[in-house]
Amino acid sequence: MTSSPAKHARISSGDRKERMTFHLMLLPGMIMLLIFVFVPLVGSLMAFQDYVPARGLFGSKWVGLENFEIIFSFPDSVQVFWNTLIIAFGKLVMNAIIPVVFSILLNELGGKYFKRTFQTIVYLPHFLSWVVLATVVTNMFSLEGPINALIGLFGAEPIQFLASNQWFRTVIIGTDVWKEFGYNSVVYLAALLAVDPGLYEAASIDGASRFKQILHITLPALMPTVVLMTALNLGNILNAGFDQVFNLYNPIVYETGDIIDTYVYRIGMVEGQYSIGTAVGLFKSVISFILILGANNVAKKTTGSSIF
């Protein structure tokens, strides 16, 4: 690194002043991150303590990995771990398939006006909170609700979907896909806009049917986006959706529906077992962090794009 006089002139007081301004601009944000992200991170060391609020973080007894041993000896927490994986995996798969199918079908329709109206409607549920939608979903799946009326037409007995360990996960996965398929289809519809219309023309001149065109033109055009989205979502495999489950579950379905985040909330915030709750949360954070970094790298290598 030899610094020419010209370069010296450029890194003069003007540039230094600019850098100083940049540091100052970042200062408030960094302070907020310090207080609300990094201090709590230090606080999560209580996962390795028998934390007593009156004694604080520095006065409580250190117990090493004891809390983690306790967690893994609970049959409850092992079940919770599995519930989380099953629900998140179901969402991962269905949230890839349904939006792709929807965007392909929508792409086949003529008429810009209809398309736009359909899009306007299917994006809407994404912007509504699970608090609101939980009431809607409870309504739909109640004993006298429309879903039970529908299966009643086929002579089936009504089902208490939200109080049935057989059905709860299916309802959670299904209603999440219902809420998000429109929003998730945005990226696929954008990818389809980029497909050269000449490809379809050439294919139909060669006598390829519409179905064959979908199979050989549309689907391959979507694959990179599908891979990217799925890879990125894989990093979220321990996020089964706190807001949704929290607003829909009840003690009858803890067995199949309780997930890591709801468990942490109940153990830590409701029952006041701070150390155990934090240990479960920390365990999840560490695994998630590794998964997200991994998924991001995979996405970068296979598709050339990533979120960070």
Binding site: D15, E18, T21, F22, H23, M25, L26, P28, G29, M30, M32, L33, F36, V37, P40, L41, V42, G43, S44, M46, F102, L105, L106, L109, T120, V122, Y123, L128, V132, A134, T135, V136, V137, T138, N139, M140, L143, G145, Q160, A163, W178, V186, V187, A190, R210, L228, F246, N247, N250, G268, M269, Y274, T278, G281, L282, S285, S288, G304, S305, F308
Partner: protein, 293 residues
Amino acid sequence: MVQKVSVGTRLAKAAIWLIVILMTASCLLPLVNMVAISFSSSNAVASNQVGLWPVEFTATTYQKLLNDSQFWASFWISVQRVVLGTLINMFFVISMAYPLSKSKLRFPAREIYIKIVIFAMLFSGGIIPLFMVVSKLHMINSIWALVLPGAVPVFNVILMINFFKGVPTSLDEAACIDGASPLTILVKIYLPVSLPALATVALFSIVNHWNDYFSGLLYMNKASLYPLQTYIQQLTVDITQITDAEQLKQLSTMSNRAFNATKIVVSTIPLLIIYPFLQKYFVSGIVIGAVKE
């Protein structure tokens, strides 16, 4: 032969229309049902007669809601936190994204800052330590607890960095030579050309603050201080305390379902008002967000 193919094609087309219409209807009709319930008599609601149109039309629940002071108190808290929270979010988005959008050469420390920001996005200490920090800062029961812990919306900061990077540096350099300060350049050049991106980020903030019920539940220990979504969540919370199937059955036939539906409908109106704007911008927001940092 030719005839046969066209029948098949037409059938396929009809099937596609049918599926798309059914999927779209599934998103709309449950919400229409909510509105219909809110305008129906409580008898009709209790006996599950209401479909997509009100039965025994009445607006009594809406009249009752006008006099429900807790609902409006919570509504007002939500409005306040949306305004305050969005302003705070925008301040941090702009003040952090602008320096971080500069090249490594021009701002070497950027590399360290960006690592801190991404780490903050990906790793969290969990709700329990965060709750303790908020309570140590004496923010329990204060509106600051609703807006400060999430003051830096890291994902939106990164989205904005990507957008600022797309602003032609020639504009910036020309102004620099003219001796304009970084702040002047930000305000005079960057912000005006970034209005669509800023609108996207602001709308995301508004929706997040309006929809968030959890910080209200966590940090407010008086029901009178709940923001609107927490208030509504508490109306329906009974379901999480149910221990047998019989109770769940009773809950679904409760007579105040029409009143609850009214509260939900009214709480959704502000979102519906901004929805056209949201729709205009969020698609571009998602596309910007997918670009690599």
